[in-house]
């Protein structure tokens, strides 16, 4: 296995060193396969092309899931975060989500260090310009300088680089990211193999010189203490924690933007961009046009790191001409004299319609080829990372000849993401929202180590020790819950003082701990109770953070018990559909009774389970009933054939 003159192919070849590519190559190499990461620029591995942040609502969930399964994003984010917060802290447990500001340089360097020091993993810099294939069997890639590189499994994670085109005012030029060339040739190779590509666009903000911002007039957003963390272990943040600041656009800002649009300077509006942009992370010109009634939009000024003055004005993604950018920026309080370090721009790129993938992210029509990340129509580091991880794991499992590893919608946001992509496809950059998860009450951050315990064990990247500490944590929670049910609290002055502080009725007679904890605002840690989890923690796991996590989880399990139970029942009901596997060959010929339209959809998308089929748009409940009949018939037929052969 060497480059150029190699004779033996690599086990796994990953194209692209972004957030998807990093997780893919780490996962595959940790599962014991010789892996090569090919990137256009080794110095830009794990670059944060857009905002200097990890996590958020739905996204923090994904990072935590990845951490339990054996991915690296959480570890690196925890090691390089400079402000941690819990979003939706005033809301319920299911939508509370961790987010951090990252020191971009530190993030990149830390992840790159993990890549280059990983056993079984090599890194190589070259441009991938095509694929090597024998028919429908993909066997590696063609590079611009080093010729063909052969591999048994190939994972493409090219992000926005595939046919990338940058827009800045009326200027447009090929590029995958500011200052970097696009990947050319690969799109043609993919369409040449019969795959369908579409066009999407996304944008980023101008970056500002923090030394030219008038901080004194801005509202400060302090870091949360103690800092919430992504990783299960939750060691305290090693870097200094700093604040973000908030400002708002003004009616003058909006006027400037209107004028720019009318003068034809906005690529989004002058017809220069064909790709579909995200509805939910819109450019400031989109926001101004679409929400005319709103005369001000909130802007977060986020530091890009501890050792750079550069600031990311979150909420100001734009592709207006530089002269317009500086003009509107200076109408914003605090930015009156700001200097721009880099211009905002939009990028338009090719993506692969993800309905062409199966649930392992393998291209259905080809063997040996996976795609992950933004190439599949998603947006966001976290969405990319979990796809990369799943593709890496599945490429490895294919080599091990093991059954595929599929996260389900019922157990993880990662499962919701992949399932949505492969059954629904996407017409705009797909971002995770908690509302996409029908089992949101179950897919929480606090229980991630229990709901994904079996999955982590199956994958086999997470160490036995770590699995054991997941178990111990949960045992402690269960002991607390038993304690809450069996212990009676009698009213005391201190307890009633706490209740009154919360605006709750004081206690007049004794009640079980569980009952007291069910009161809306009461927290387990504040009841002055000796919880059974405490001695467990002192026996080795002394992190205060872990203890507060156990108590928080105890509180949640008690407070929302009825709702959580009902949500679990719903999952159990659905399991019937999810467990009904559709035979591979079911769609080989037209199914009697089914309309052509539905049949075409099903035979193209080839859902693996009835559950998946039921989520495909246009597939009616009646069609599902029909499918189940056909599955039963096929099963009967197969049994019959087996019996006949035995005779």
């Amino acid at each position: 296995m060497s480059l150029g003159t190699q004779t033996k192919p690599w086990d796994v070849l990953v194209v692209g060193g972004g957030h998807a590519g990093c997780e893919a190559s780490l996962a595959a190499s940790r599962l014991g396969f010789k892996t090569l990461l090919v990137t256009g620029s080794i110095d830009r591995i794990a670059a944060m092309s857009c905002n200097p942040a990890v996590g958020g609502v739905g996204k923090g969930h994904i990072v935590k899931e990845l951490d339990i399964l054996g991915g690296d994003m959480g570890i690196v984010a925890d090691a390089t975060g400079i402000q941690f917060r819990t979003l939706n802290a005033s809301r319920g447990p299911a939508v509370q989500a961790t987010r951090c500001q990252s020191d971009m340089r530190a993030y990149q360097a830390t992840m790159a260090a993990r890549i280059v020091s990983q056993e079984n993993l090599s890194v190589h810099q070259d441009d991938v310009i095509g694929l090597v294939n024998a028919g429908a069997n993909v066997q590696g890639v063609q590079t611009r300088f080093g010729g063909n590189i052969h591999a048994r499994q190939t994972i493409i994670t090219t992000g926005t680089f595939l046919g990338g085109k940058l827009h800045l005012g009326q200027d447009k030029r090929p590029g995958g990211r500011a200052g970097e060339a696009p990947a050319s040739g690969l799109s043609k190779a993919l369409t040449g193999l019969g795959l369908e590509l579409g066009r999407l666009k996304t944008g980023t903000c101008p970056r500002l010189d923090g030394r030219t911002i008038n901080w004194a007039v801005l509202e400060e957003q302090l870091p949360e203490t103690p800092a919430p963390r992504f990783t299960f272990e939750s060691t305290p943040p090693p870097l200094k924690q700093i604040s973000c600041f908030m400002t708002k656009t003004t009616s003058q800002t909006h006027d400037v933007i209107y004028d720019a649009i009318h003068s034809g300077d906005a690529p989004v509006y002058n017809g220069q961009i064909d790709g579909t942009g995200p509805r939910y992370c819109p450019s400031i010109e989109d926001k101004v046009v679409r929400f005319r009634a709103k005369n001000s939009h909130l802007i977060f000024l986020e530091p890009q790191g501890l050792h750079t003055p550069e600031v990311y004005p979150n909420g100001l993604s734009t592709s207006l001409a530089p002269s317009d950018q500086i003009k509107f920026l200076r109408t914003i309080p605090g930015l009156e004299e700001t200097q721009v370090t880099r211009w905002g721009y939009a990028v338009e790129y090719d993506f692969l319609n993800p309905t062409q993938l199966d649930s392992t992210l393998k291209v259905k029509s080809l063997s040996g080829l996976y795609t992950a990340g933004q190439i599949n129509g998603t947006t966001g580091y976290e969405e990319a990372a979990v796809q990369g991880f799943l593709a890496g794991v599945n490429a490895a499992r294919a080599l091990q000849e093991k059954d595929p590893f599929i996260l389900t919608r019922q157990e993880a946001y990662g499962g919701v993401l992949v399932d949505d992509l492969v059954t629904q496809g996407t017409k705009e950059p797909y971002r995770m929202f908690t509302s996409r998860a029908e089992h949101r009450l179950i897919l929480r951050e606090d229980n991630v180590h229990t709901r994904l315990y079996d999955a982590a064990k199956k994958i086999g990247i997470v160490s036995e020790d770590r699995l054991r500490s997941f178990e111990r944590f949960e045992e402690a929670v269960q002991r607390n819950l038993a304690h809450a049910r069996s212990t009676t609290l009698s009213p005391s002055d201190s307890l009633n003082a706490y209740l009154e502080e919360l605006g709750e009725q004081p206690m007049r007679q004794g009640a079980t701990l569980e009952k007291v904890l069910r009161r809306p605002k009461v927290e387990a840690s504040r009841l002055g109770v000796e919880w059974p989890s405490a001695p467990f923690l002192s026996a080795g796991d002394s992190s205060e953070h872990l203890e507060s996590k156990i108590l928080k989880r105890t509180t949640i399990e008690v407070k929302y018990a009825g709702y959580i139970e009902r949500a679990s029942d719903a999952i159990a009901r659905e399991k019937v559909l999810e467990d009904a596997v559709i035979p591979e060959n079911l769609f080989e010929s037209q199914l009697a009774g089914m309309s052509n339209e539905v049949f075409d959809k099903l035979s193209t998308l080839r859902p693996k389970t009835l559950g998946q089929a039921s989520r495909i748009s246009g597939v009616t409940p009646a069609a599902i009933g029909l499918l189940s009949v056909h599955i039963a018939r096929k099963q009967e037929h197969t049994n019959q054939v087996n019996e006949d052969t035995r005779r």
Partner: protein
């Protein structure tokens, strides 16, 4: 019975009553309906147009032997009752002709339809929702004018529309909630609860009204139960015979003659009424064993009654000791207290006048007519809504929906976080879907369709 959900074959059935008649209509529905038609039928003018009744000859496919001259009407896929290609053969009404046509259709591969299968297919093809399918059934089965009106209103979509409105009001809140959950940094405000409480309240009203109507609707279809109740020899059987206008119950002057229950149907002002005559109730010590059983049944009949006619004979009045006063009436049934045998009234019993709603002399035509109009006025009051759900299954689904809405309100009142509210609202939405059949499952289908009669 299990239905063929895949609509994989073409089905046929006689759509008119069996036996000799002027006409007999055989319906054929499914992918091959037109193919079968063309093998069996030759139009006199050569062409068969959609929607137009076409005259031609029916012949047996193998021999080519002519069976009948008949009219054929064809409806293309998507534009027929079932939503599939559908052909109606209108034959002369001889059962032998029908048998031959059905046999020929079967020889071509057509299958005899299960009861209700045509309508089930119309639901499977999305031609109508479950509520309307039920209405089709009701329209055919309706035993009175009132029941017909309700079925027609249901078929027209009145409950479908009010359910859809309630569902929409509840579901529309979801978008507001989700925006707040997924965009924590946007300043969207927290003033949702009032609106939500109102929307949930409105939805609850709709559902409660439908539940109330379902109990009534069921009775409209199966007959409103009017129970005759009173001591032995109070003239219950005489009244029953008088209302029915025939000698249905045995009338005998010795007490305790009617030991079992008698039921009979009659129509009153468009209402289908099931009249129930129960054993005379005595609560004394001299009750024979067989009568004790009768008493128990009488009490059970009271529980199920829509209207109770409590009779007290004027020749042997019980007054305030009448057993109706011993019955707690847990569900608040309407009771009409009647002094019977008013023609036998004697001076001393006049003191009891205030106890009665009505004085009846069952042998007097005018007195009887007065009672009839009194009864129909009461029923008229009960049936103030023109549409009503009619099946026990629908009533049960409505109750599930009610519980889901109740749970959502509970979550709201106990200040549960928004995502929990959202889950509760989604659950209510799921219940709404089950009601209209927007999310179908085989068990729902089976419950609705096993009650259909053949060929509808």
């Amino acid at each position: 019975m299990s239905y063929d959900l895949n609509r994989s074959d073409t089905i046929c059935a006689l759509a008119t009553p069996p036996g000799r008649s002027a006409l007999a209509i055989v319906r054929v529905s499914g992918a091959n309906a037109y193919t079968y038609r063309d093998k069996l039928f030759t139009a006199h003018r050569g062409v068969v147009k959609d929607y137009v009744a076409t005259l031609g000859l029916l012949s047996t496919p193998d021999s080519g032997e002519h069976i009948d001259e008949c009219l054929v009407t064809s409806f293309p896929e998507g534009r027929s009752y079932t939503g599939e290609a559908l052909v109606e053969f209108s034959l002369h009404g001889n059962p032998n002709l029908v048998r031959i046509l059905v046999r020929d259709l079967q020889s071509l591969g057509c299958r005899s339809a299960e009861p209700g299968e045509f309508t089930m297919r119309s639901v499977l093809t999305g031609k109508r929702d479950l509520l309307k399918a039920q209405a089709v059934y009701d329209l055919i089965e309706a035993e009175s004018e009132r029941a017909l009106k309700v079925a027609a209103s249901n078929l027209h979509g009145q409950p479908t529309n009010s359910i859809a409105r309630a569902r929409k009001a509840v579901i529309s809140v979801l978008a507001e909630i989700e925006a707040r959950l997924d965009y924590p940094d946007e300043e969207l405000g927290d003033t949702l609860t009032q609106q939500l409480r109102e929307d949930l309240g409105k939805a609850q009203e709709v559902i409660e009204e439908l539940i109330a109507s379902a109990a009534w609707g069921g009775r409209l279809m199966s007959g409103i139960r009017v129970v005759l109740f009173g001591p032995p020899n109070a003239g219950k059987s005489t009244l029953m015979n008088a209302l029915l206008g025939e000698e249905r119950a045995i009338v005998h002057s010795s007490a305790g003659t009617t030991r079992d229950m008698l039921e009979a149907k009659f129509e009153l002002q468009g209402f289908s009424i099931t009249l129930v005559d129960v054993a005379g109730v005595r609560f004394g010590d001299d009750v024979h064993d067989i009568e004790a059983v009768g008493v128990e049944k009488a009490l059970a009949a009271l529980e199920r009654a829509d209207l109770i006619l409590a009779l007290d004979p004027s020749d042997k009045p019980m007054g305030a000791k009448h057993p109706i006063y011993d019955w707690p009436n847990p569900q608040g049934r309407r009771i009409l207290k009647i002094q019977s045998k008013a023609d036998l009234v004697t001076e001393p019993t006049r003191q009891l006048d205030t106890l009665y709603d009505f004085k009846l002399s069952a042998t007097d035509k005018n007195s009887l007519a007065e009672l009839r109009s009194k009864m129909s006025a009461i029923l008229e009051l009960e049936s103030n809504s023109s549409s009503a759900l009619t099946s026990a299954h629908q009533e049960q689904e409505l109750k599930h929906t009610q519980v889901a809405l109740e749970q959502a309100l509970q979550a709201l009142d106990s200040a549960m976080p928004l995502e929990i509210l959202s889950a509760e609202i989604r659950n209510a939405g799921y219940r709404f879907d089950r009601l209209t059949g927007d999310s179908l499952s085989e068990d729902v289908l089976n419950q609705v369709f096993t009650r259909f009669c053949l060929g509808k």
